[in-house]
């Protein structure tokens, strides 16, 4: 069992062991650090080496945070050969080798300094595989408080006051959804956590699952209490093996600690949670498809209404929320709904986690208050394009979103502003594009994704996306005609308006937004550009 939580050692090294850093060699580094510590004759009491989750600057992995009397220092891209030097530097930084000095990251960098820690407060702090560490950090204390001191109505009241909106993309008010489920006629109810995170370029939910799984379980359990559910599922995509492993471990630990199961914490509240692993289908992130998949079926969406809140798993009222939505709940209860609502904008409260990637210097996880401008996220926090050339566009919302051109970077990031620009918040992926990126190619990239991921149930999406991808191909290959432009426009509108689920309804968005802001690139690809009709 982890002792680090009880008696905090004077100095510790927190090593990121989440997927991003693992792919950059964090396991070797951690092993080398342990060996170097032992070789230097330090005990774990003097110098703890603690595996933690994401330290946010994933692009510079493997990351290590060094806590000592003088504060915290961060190191990025530390080669295992520098392990000895790093151990030495925990005592006396002045002796650090040149390589190590080069790996040192300034904590005053805007990347760190401008971030908030709300949903991610435990990420990089707690050991994701230790419930003791999580409990010492305060996790599960809000669940206990809810069970002993608050009625389900009072819990829902706080969530409503917080103004929290769904972080899975739609932005539906969370408190309202909880009320809808809670107020259904008596009978069984389910809670489901959507951890299918399929947008390419999005890794926020994965980071939470890998870094702080107990926080998610706490949020899920509080939700179950608030809506009267006694069964829950977490649906995780199979492409996240580490997240699945850690989540399973966390569930087992929570069951053993009496925080899940029957008679939780001495109350009459009971909750069973199961993990369901996907099998590679983006569309299963759509809530009705996800429910089908949990029931062992093809992930085919069905028309709504009825919404899952009315009729979901096995026909029972089912609450579905995203990972980040649930993970925000414990803090909201701890600090109060009003506290949460004091951050953000009028319509979008609190903070949002973004995954920043693409042509940007600082790649990683970013948590900022809603309403922060895109510019401060990608230019100040992200540090702009690595070679210093201007940003051309920022893509938000993945295959359902759009490309926002550089001249609109001063837009605040909130649900409404992004929608107005023809993009959307989506789950929080933000991909920066430099000057060399061609917009018709970007549009084709996303359309191919939609072709691949369409479930095939309804004709506009099944056949329409294929036609759209072929039309875009003509623009990419510069053999389009003005008639193609008209067809592209018309078909985009048709697919958007008539598809059955969100996948088809938003598949045209990347085309429509690039047509809106970069129309000249499409026109230049026409054989007779002058004839392309202008809107």
């Amino acid at each position: 069992m982890s002792s680090s939580a009880q008696t905090k050692p004077a100095r510790q090294l927190r090593c990121c062991g989440a997927s991003g850093c693992r792919s950059a060699g964090s396991e070797e580094l951690q092993a080398a650090l342990e060996a170097a510590r032992d070789a230097a004759g330090h005990t774990a009491q003097e110098l703890a080496i603690k595996p933690v989750g994401c330290l946010r600057l994933c692009g510079r992995g493997p990351l290590v945070a060094c806590d000592g009397p003088g504060g915290t220092t961060l190191y990025g891209a530390v080669p295992p050969t520098e392990a000895g030097a790093l151990i030495e530097a925990t005592r006396n930084y002045d002796h650090a080798s040149d390589t190590l000095q080069a790996s040192r990251l300034d904590p005053q960098l805007p990347f760190f300094a401008l971030q908030s820690s709300v949903v991610l407060e435990g990420c990089g702090q707690v050991d994701p595989e230790s419930i003791d560490d999580a409990i010492a950090f305060g996790t599960y204390s809000q669940l206990r408080r809810c069970l002993h001191e608050l009625t389900p109505e009072e819990v829902r009241e706080q969530v409503k006051r917080s103004g929290l909106r769904g972080r899975g993309g739609g932005g539906y008010p969370t408190g309202l959804k909880w009320d809808t489920v809670a107020l259904q006629p008596p009978g069984p109810r389910y809670v489901v956590c959507n951890a299918d995170e399929g947008d390419p370029g999005a890794f926020m939910d994965r980071s939470v699952l890998e870094s702080d799984p107990h926080r998610l379980l706490e949020g899920l359990a509080i939700a179950a209490y608030a809506v009267g559910a006694d069964r829950g599922y977490v649906y995780v995509r199979a492409e996240y093996p580490l997240a699945v492993e850690r989540l399973r471990k966390a569930l087992q630990q929570a069951r053993r600690a009496g925080l899940l199961g029957s008679g939780i914490d001495g109350t009459s509240f009971a909750l069973t949670i199961e993990v369901r692993v996907g099998a590679g289908a983006y569309v299963c992130g759509e809530e009705t498809a996800l429910l089908q998949s949990i029931q062992g079926q093809r992930g085919m969406p069905r028309p709504r209404p009825p919404y899952p809140a009315q009729s979901g798993l096995w026909g029972a009222p089912t609450l579905i929320n995203n990972v980040e939505t649930f993970a925000a709940v414990p803090v909201i209860l701890r600090e109060g709904g009003d506290w949460y609502a004091s951050m953000g904008t009028a319509g979008s409260k609190g903070t949002k986690v973004f995954a920043l990637s693409g042509a940007v210097t600082n790649t990683g996880l970013v948590e900022v208050p809603m309403g922060t401008t895109l510019r401060s996220v990608v230019e100040v926090i992200g540090g702009g394009v690595p070679d210093g050339t201007p940003i051309k566009a920022v893509q938000t919302g993945g295959p359902s979103g759009g490309c926002i051109p550089a001249e609109l970077l001063d837009t605040p990031v909130d649900y409404e502003s992004l929608l107005e620009l023809g993009s959307m918040m989506g789950s929080g992926g933000m991909v920066v594009m430099g000057e060399t990126t061609s917009m018709p190619e970007v549009a084709r990239h996303f359309m191919r994704f939609s072709v691949n991921e369409s479930c095939g149930k309804c004709v506009p999406c099944r056949a329409g996306t294929v036609q759209l991808a072929q039309l875009l191909e003509r623009f990419v290959e510069r053999r389009a005609s003005p008639a193609d432009m008209a067809k592209l426009d018309a078909l985009c509108r048709m697919v958007k308006a008539t598809s059955l689920c969100g996948l088809g309804q938003s598949a045209p968005n990347p085309v429509l937004s690039t047509l809106r802001y970069f129309r000249h690139e499409y026109e230049a690809a026409c054989r007779q550009p002058a004839l392309c009709d202008r809107p």
Binding site: R298, R302, P460, Q467, K487, T498
Partner: protein, 239 residues
């Protein structure tokens, strides 16, 4: 049973509570194109031809799956809807291989009828000429995948009415296709009772009686509703 009232293209109608928008359009004497829907089978909302506009909502709603509610006002034939419907039919023709002149269903094909209904005479979208097969392994019937529009009526009738569940949909997206058993030749699937219901309901010439030749296919698409009524309500109208 209580009744709700709503308006269809400006005309007020009353239908039993729990009815769908489709029932409301029928009560108003308005015809909208349908391909996936068939009375007696669970509606799935897949072909999107029956979409209607609902006042006060910015989303189009499929009439076949949407429950009607008191005071709704719907529009079934706006310019926009006609436009979208025609495009949907174009997409259907372009994604399969429909050589009507040689088809058993020529002249008695619901896809053809819908094309006439929405005024589609050619597809603006290039034909995809997919590689598809004909399975004639069944002693009585055959399925020509070239003509399948993936309405899943065969899947539903075989599951919901016959209870055999011979058919399902395989793969996904544009690779979707109807499968018998483990994607086997139909004739090898023991579960088939040879009842012929899938032949009765297939809207195109995709599933047909082997003895039928060009333009000879007869359809009995009213049977699922009759059988369901007999089973659920014990009323027989199939004399």
């Amino acid at each position: 049973m209580s009744v709700i009232t709503l308006s269809v293209n400006g005309k007020d109608v009353a239908i039993p509570e729990g009815g769908s928008l489709l029932e409301a359009t029928r009560a108003a004497g308005v015809e909208i194109p349908l391909l996936c829907h068939l009375d007696g089978l669970e509606p799935v909302g897949a072909c999107r031809l029956c979409l209607v506009e609902v006042e006060g909502s910015n989303r189009l709603m499929p009439a076949c799956t949407t429950a009607a509610s008191e005071g709704m006002a719907i529009h079934t034939h706006t310019h926009q809807l006609l436009d979208y419907r025609r495009m949907a039919v174009e997409l259907f023709f372009a994604e399969g291989n429909h050589i009507c002149a040689f088809c058993v269903a020529n002249g008695n094909c619901e896809l053809q009828n819908v094309a006439v209904q929405v005024g589609m005479d050619h597809s603006r979208f290039p034909y995809q000429y997919p590689q598809r097969v004909v399975d004639a392994s069944h002693p009585l019937f055959a399925i020509d995948h070239n003509r399948c529009i993936l309405c899943t009526r065969c899947v539903r009738v075989c599951d919901e009415i016959e209870g055999a569940h011979v058919w399902d949909v395989g793969s996904r997206g544009s690779h979707c296709h109807i499968v018998a058993g483990l994607d086997q030749p139909w004739g090898e699937v023991d579960a088939c009772t040879n009842c012929g219901k899938c032949v009765d309901v297939c809207p195109t010439g995709a599933i047909f009686h082997k003895e039928d030749t060009t333009a000879e296919k007869l359809r009995h698409s009213d049977r699922p509703a009759l059988l369901k009524a007999a089973r659920d309500e014990h009323v027989w109208r199939n004399q």
